[in-house]
């Protein structure tokens, strides 16, 4: 088996999850595709340094992907002038999107403004510590905390119905 064959044997079962992870962090499919391609190439180049074999691969690959995504976010966010949290008063959600009440978790998260979506995804999908999110996005820890705080307030209203439905169905 060539190195490429060995790599793809481990990589392909993860590819769908990796694609959606990139989509969740970056907010759109086109960027997700770019990030996935770049991360896969990086992973392949570092493949011979992976220790722990097949069992270690998924988490290792995920880490490379998340790093690639946050690198893209850092570059993207760089051109936006420093904002103050109060500037974001009522505009957490793109104005023309109607959030379904009791709707899907992903529907609610994807509708958040990019800067809020990124911290929510990194925190709850990738289980990153707040300090690590701050480093990854190159923003102050206080900004991470306040964005998370306000994003959760916004999400709560739209997800409350979901939990209620679930409990009702049991």
């Amino acid at each position: 088996m060539t190195m490429e064959d060995r790599f793809f044997a481990l990589y392909k079962p993860e590819q769908g999850r990796l694609y959606r992870t990139a989509w969740a962090i970056l907010g759109n499919e086109a960027d997700a595709g770019d990030a996935l391609q770049e991360a896969t190439i990086r992973a392949f180049r570092a493949f011979d340094q992976l220790k722990g074999g097949a069992a270690a691969f998924p988490a290792w690959m995920r880490r490379i992907l998340v790093n690639t995504c946050t690198q893209i976010l850092r570059k993207r966010m760089r051109v936006i002038p420093v904002e103050r949290p109060e500037d974001y008063g009522g505009e957490l959600v793109a104005p023309d999107v109607e959030l379904p009440l009791g709707g899907d978790v992903w529907d609610a998260v994807r509708a958040l403004d990019e800067r809020y979506r990124a911290v929510v995804v990194l925190r709850f999908l990738n289980d990153m510590q707040l300090e690590d999110i701050a480093t990854a996005l190159d923003i102050p820890l206080g900004t991470v905390k306040s964005r998370l705080h306000t994003a959760l307030k916004q999400l709560r209203g739209h997800l409350q119905g979901l939990d209620g439905e679930r409990r009702g169905a049991v």
């Binding site: 694609y19 770019d34 996935l36 391609q37 190439i41 570059k75 709850f124 905390k145 959760l152 709560r156």
Partner: protein, 362 residues
């Protein structure tokens, strides 16, 4: 502690990343404040809902088949590139400014060292450098290596510099009677093996002028590239400046070019235009752009108006002349294919630093 402050820290509290004092304060507050206590429960449950929901959505994910094919192709084709390249030239007290590189050795597979050992002159070096992705030596008859680094004076360096989304960290600076060695890491960089490796070369200067570069090597890691550069030895207590002037990078893009009936190629998303013409079953496309820092557009696909895909091949590497770059491609498409459109998903370009670190020699 005030309610507002407690609520702001709830996420950190639930994650367990607050200090023991803060934890005690928050616990105390929660035991007496019904509002915040309810809030803490709500936030915890919301977190669990989000976690479950996002993971469920991820698990249902499928990668679009075309993207999956593209990724597989780019890796399998990349792996088939020549595993090493060797360039000889005349040297006469080679200086950094000399364009002629005396020896470039490059490999991507760990077992290459064994193959290299059978090649005359290169054998001794291959035996010592098994892992770097890239190695440049300016003097093949006296190659730089770790043996020349005895005895060594070391200074820990606290030099970092950031520009254009990449960060240089100079990790170690060592001097021996024969050589100076600088070990540095560029976070966010990915090596482009096909380009001139001299594009990566660093500079070191002391008060009375530049210090001569003798060789360097590079190793790709998943966060960036680790470099080791070897210079002539420097005296003790010198103020030194280490510089990376510019770095070639490869970045994901989405560029599209439409082949117009009049023989022109229109850029939809990048400022490169050009011409095309048909030669039997092949279409030859020439693209031009004037930005000197865009080195190459790559990872091409071609589709017609029906969405059918055709193979695209790059003819050599882009050439720079008279203030413009020219890149030539050929598309394998029959005369019946119409509405051809080219897409590029990767650009190799040069990012201008400089990344500079200053320190004093031990």
């Amino acid at each position: 502690m005030q309610c507002e402050r407690v609520q702001k820290e709830l996420e950190s509290y639930l994650q367990g990343t607050v200090t023991p004092e803060e934890r005690a304060e928050i616990n105390a507050h929660l035991s007496t404040c019904a509002v915040c206590s309810e809030e803490a429960t709500a936030v915890k449950e919301l977190g669990q809902t989000l976690r479950r929901g996002l993971h469920a959505w991820i698990d249902q994910g499928e990668c679009p088949p075309q993207l999956a094919r593209q990724i597989e192709l780019s890796i399998r084709q990349g792996a088939r590139r020549p595993w090493w390249r060797r360039t000889w030239s005349v040297y006469a007290g080679a200086s950094v400014a000399a364009a002629a590189v005396l020896m470039i050795v490059m490999w991507q597979q760990p077992d290459v060292a064994e193959r290299m050992a059978s090649v005359p002159l290169v054998g001794a070096i291959a035996a010592q450098f098994i892992s770097p992705d890239l190695e440049v030596q300016f003097d093949p008859l006296t190659p730089v290596n770790t043996a020349l680094m005895q005895p060594t004076r070391t200074v820990a360096v606290d030099g970092t510099a950031e520009a254009q989304g990449m960060k240089l960290t100079v990790e170690k600076f060592e001097v021996s009677p024969q050589l100076t060695r600088v070990r540095y890491f560029v976070r966010g960089l990915m090596l482009i093996p096909e380009i001139d490796p001299l594009t990566y070369q660093p500079e070191l200067s002391a008060k009375d002028g530049p210090v001569r570069l003798r060789g360097f090597n590079a190793d790709q890691r998943d966060q960036g590239v680790v470099f080791q550069a070897y210079f002539d030895p420097v005296g003790s207590g010198q103020a030194l400046t280490f510089t990376l002037d510019r770095l070639p990078v490869s970045q994901a893009i989405s560029g599209r070019w439409a082949l117009q009936p009049n023989g022109q190629v229109d850029a939809r998303e990048l400022p490169a235009a050009g011409q095309w013409q048909r030669n039997g079953s092949k279409v030859t496309v020439t693209l031009n752009w004037s930005d000197p820092n865009v080195l190459r557009l790559t990872e091409w696909t071609a589709t017609d108006s029906a969405g059918k895909e055709y193979a695209v091949a790059e003819v050599g590497r882009p050439a720079y002349a008279d203030g413009a770059w020219t890149q030539t491609l050929t598309i394998e498409a029959p005369e019946t294919a119409s509405g051809l459109e080219l897409r590029s998903s990767r650009m190799e370009n040069r990012v201008i630093g400089p990344w500079t670190a200053t320190f004093t020699s031990p």
